[in-house]
């Protein structure tokens, strides 16, 4: 079942533990160590909404080529507590090596038939001084097993724990060394492992997750102000920007609620700031009135929505793509908006920067739609192109006759800010005239609505076209958006069919101009979305009349696994 997706130069391992067992430290350290040793690495953690206990897991893939998706296949499974294998039974096969202590392995696997490496991790950690060392020992084991240089490993452990005092750093280095010995021994004892080629380019590359991408894009887009209320999975964007606040002169304010956050962002844009709010679906629901305000006062606004499964609190720490229509239809009244959904860290960086440019240029709200999978998964990025100049302010110096809402052909009125020039900047949530004063004049009202909507026309010239993977005009076409890019792309590689291509949208609204033309060339179209009702398919149908012939949907809170996509595509293609 799983062999088809198995590529020889690719290894997947999964560590399953309780919250509080240090999986996050393991993941961060492990991906760094692998990357610096020249291995392409990908990792994804799924975790429960709790601080201690339960069961969480981290999947790490190492490969000779760039990969950025989860596999169902687990080549090495490490259970760190009793019952740690339970949720993964369907993914364990006789080819899965189970590594760790026997007490934590399900009986079903210890009776023979499954390759087992009995390693007393708890005892080893106890000898080092406590169970806190399990994660670092494990990092050592995998480093030894995959031939990472010992110096590199120890250097990274020193960097990771140096701050907490020399004693703890030394103890962790000793733990890493113990694990490394074990791992190297396993390697020497001839456990058959695929040889994964290393590359110097990877050593020099960037290691990033989606949070890094969004945050770097904010900085490159000239973001100066962040007001938000914590909400998983978007909080880490706020946290990371707060960490960079001093270095980058950012004003970071944790608001009392999302209503305040969005109104602060609008106040900041009004006064010349470039503001971001970061939230998830529920927080965005509270921001909706502010979104409409942005529409009326024609304020730029950048909203990052890290999607998680709803409705309501839903699955707070898990992933979904079910807020597209929420982002699309939120807000009373009619006004233009732009919705972007990056598929890779490279795109996240470029599109977040683009979000600031477009918000500023068209004086519209721009929504950046990511999700927990996108934000939390780590991968190797070769290069990010930092443009020169970084960004341009669309703000103008005002003269005494300045009118904030001057009617223009494009619908864009030059935007002044208070205190810059001799004019006055007057914005009103009531319908207003060109100066910004309240009016109920029917002609002015109509002119203002037309002016605001006219901006959509100009925006069409700056659409981000969808990315086509595979041949143009293929018989079959898979269509996706946002975070599904890596898994669908990899699935197409596995299938290796010349009659199948993948069209990925990172600008989901307004639909890019050539959408119909590209979709029309294929005979059968399949949509893939991490939601239950195929929201993007509905959007395409509404705007183009094009109907999808097949749907691949997932809404259990987990991202698509590579094999799932491969099998479901195969099943659909077989039917036709």
């Amino acid at each position: 079942m799983t062999t088809k997706a198995h590529m020889p130069e690719d290894l997947s391992f999964l560590v399953s533990g309780e919250a509080g067992q240090g999986l996050q430290t393991f993941e961060q350290l492990m991906v760094r160590v692998f990357k610096l040793s020249g291995l392409h690495v990908f990792s994804y953690s799924e975790f429960m909404s709790r601080i201690r206990g339960g069961n969480n897991s981290t999947q790490i893939r190492i490969s000779s080529q760039g990969v950025a998706s989860c596999t169902r296949r687990i080549d090495i499974m490490v259970p760190l507590h009793e019952g740690a294998m339970e949720r993964f039974r369907e993914r364990i096969t006789p080819a899965t090596v189970i590594l760790g202590e026997k007490e934590f392995m399900d009986r079903a696997y210890t009776g023979g038939g499954y390759p087992i490496v009995d390693m007393p991790l708890s005892r080893m950690a106890g000898e080092m001084g406590g169970q806190v060392y399990v994660n670092v020992i494990l990092t050592g084991v995998f480093s030894g097993l995959f031939g990472v240089g010992q110096d590199l490993l120890e250097d990274q452990v020193r960097q990771a724990f140096g701050r907490t005092g020399d004693v703890r750093a030394a103890a962790n280095i000793a733990a890493a060394r113990t694990g490394y010995e074990k791992g190297s021994h396993l390697l020497r004892s001839g456990q058959a492992l695929p040889v994964i080629e290393r590359s110097d380019a990877v050593k020099e590359a960037l290691l990033m997750n989606g949070v890094d991408a969004v945050v770097l894009g904010c900085l490159a887009g000239g973001c100066t102000f962040i007001s938000s209320y914590p909400m998983s999975p978007s909080t880490n964007v706020l946290v990371l920007l707060a960490r960079y606040a001093e270095e980058f002169d950012l004003v970071v304010e944790q608001a009392e609620d999302e209503i305040s956050a969005v109104n602060m962002a609008l106040g900041s844009w009004y006064a010349g700031g470039r503001a971001l709010v970061t939230t998830s679906g529920g927080g965005f629901a509270l921001m909706v009135e502010g979104l409409s305000l942005a529409g009326c006062i024609e304020s730029p606004l950048v909203i990052h929505i890290g999607q998680r499964p709803g409705p309501a609190t839903g699955l707070p720490t898990r992933t979904e793509q079910a807020d597209l229509e929420h982002a699309l239809y939120a807000g009373h009244g009619e006004f233009p908006r732009l919705i972007l959904a990056p598929g890779t860290p490279e795109e996240g960086f470029t599109l977040t920067r683009h979000a600031f440019t477009m918000a500023d240029r068209y004086q519209i709200p721009v929504i950046l739609l990511t999700d927990q999978f996108y934000l939390e998964s780590n991968c190797v990025v070769q290069h990010l192109d930092i443009p020169e100049p970084l960004y341009e302010h669309a703000v103008v110096e005002t003269d005494p006759a300045y009118m904030r809402y001057r009617l223009t052909d494009t619908g864009i009125s030059p935007r002044g800010v208070p205190g810059f020039g001799q004019g006055l900047v007057c914005v009103d949530s009531d319908e207003h005239d060109e100066y910004g004063f309240i009016t109920e004049d029917a002609k002015v009202r109509t002119a203002m609505v037309d002016k605001r909507l006219r901006k959509l026309g100009a925006m069409q010239n700056e659409c981000i076209p969808p990315t086509l993977v595979g041949p143009e005009g293929s018989r079959f076409l898979v269509v996706g958006w946002g975070s599904t890019f890596p898994v669908v792309k990899e699935a197409l590689g596995v299938l290796g069919r010349d009659d199948l291509a993948f069209l990925h949208f990172s600008q989901v609204y307004p639909l890019p101009t050539r959408t119909v033309e590209i979709l029309d060339r294929s005979q059968r179209r399949i949509v893939i979305e991490n939601n239950a009702t195929a929201q993007f398919a509905r959007l395409i149908r509404q705007h183009t009349g094009i109907v999808f012939d097949g749907k691949i949907l997932k809404y259990d809170g987990m991202p698509f696994l590579l094999e799932e996509v491969v099998e479901q595509l195969e099943a659909l293609l077989e039917r036709w």
């Binding site: 610096l36 020099e204 590359a205 960037l206 290691l207 990033m208 770097l216 900085l219 490159a220 100066t224 102000f225 007001s227 960079y244 606040a245 270095e247 980058f248 002169d249 004003v251 970071v252 304010e253 608001a255 009392e256 209503i259 305040s260 109104n263 602060m264 962002a265 609008l266 106040g267 900041s268 009004y270 006064a271 010349g272 700031g273 470039r274 503001a275 009135e289 305000l293 006062i297 930092i386 020169e388 970084l390 960004y391 302010h393 703000v395 208070p418 205190g419 810059f420 020039g421 004019g423 006055l424 900047v425 007057c426 914005v427 009103d428 949530s429 009531d430 910004g436 004063f437 309240i438």
Partner: protein, 287 residues
């Protein structure tokens, strides 16, 4: 009076004749002139309601936003350009009802802005429903048997939150209102000024005469730095104390707490982009 803040154009004022808003607007304009402020460096932020229309009737930059949301906007304006004088102005429904949570947190943040709350104890623009400050027993088309809650005492609340400046004025006394506004605007930190004001159309209980009879000015014996005395003045049930009730100079203004303003007081839009810093950050992601 100098016409510095008078509008250049004629406008159809939406306030009723005899409304306290007219006096408050006049007091505000007089204060702004006296302080030597310029319209270009003044930002008025308001929510929704009749009081929130104030920015429409004088010459200044303004942000007339959403009901209840003037304080987050005003806070951010100041935090983005500390050189601007920022005044948030709205009614009791907007500031104490819909925006009550923001008021609490604005007091805690202590941005250097002035919040002027017109308190007429009724929702006027929506035609006469109870406001958070309506008195017990006040009968309205919604509270048909009379209001059965105690009015919100925002002055006492602000003192409880250790606000940096808390004052109350009465729209009937234009000069003393202007004097209080002057102190509030020049105060460095968050200044709350509640202005008692009759609503001639929808409040037949709390009339001009009623406010006269139910208010008094604090005299020189009141020490605004004494928090207990301020509590006592704020908590009197039968009469409203007017004047500066509480001043706490020990709390830093919000901008002083932000690293962006530690070395540099320029507004955010005046700061140049620095490509080198981003490159350096990217390089850190390589090792």
């Amino acid at each position: 009076m100098a016409a510095e803040f008078d509008l250049d154009h004629h406008t159809d004022v939406a306030w009723c004749p005899g409304c306290g808003n007219h006096s408050i607007l006049a007091a505000l304009k007089a204060t702004l002139v006296e302080l030597g402020l310029r319209p270009e460096s003044l930002v008025l932020v308001s929510g929704i309601g009749q009081a929130a229309k104030t920015p429409q009737y004088l010459k200044a930059n303004f942000f007339n936003g959403l009901h209840g949301r003037s304080l987050p906007v005003a806070t951010a304006v100041k935090l983005t350009n500390p050189g601007l004088t920022v005044i948030a102005e709205s009614g009791d429904g907007c500031m104490y009802g819909e925006g009550g949570n923001h008021l609490i947190h604005a007091v805690r943040r202590n941005p250097d802005i002035t919040a002027v709350v017109h308190n007429n104890m009724v929702y006027a623009l929506t035609k006469g429903q109870a406001s958070p400050t309506s008195t017990r027993g006040f009968v309205t088309p919604v509270q048909v048997s009379g209001v059965c809650t105690d009015p919100l005492n925002a002055i006492a609340l602000a003192v409880a939150l250790n606000a940096s400046f808390v004052a109350r004025a009465f729209s009937g006394d234009r000069e003393r209102t202007a004097e209080i506004l002057k102190q509030a605007i020049t105060h460095r930190g968050f200044a709350l000024v509640e202005i008692l004001q009759p609503c001639v159309s929808f409040n037949r209980v709390n009339t001009f005469q009623w406010f006269r009879e139910h208010s008094y000015y604090l005299d020189d014996s009141h020490n605004p730095s004494d928090r207990e005395a301020a509590f006592a003045a704020a908590s009197q049930g039968d009469r409203f104390a007017l004047g500066l009730i509480y001043r706490n100079t020990g709390v830093p203004a919000m901008t002083d707490c932000h690293s962006a303003y530690r070395r540099d007081n320029r507004p955010l839009f005046r700061r140049p982009a620095d490509r080198g810093r981003i490159e350096a950050l990217l390089n850190r992601k390589r090792t």
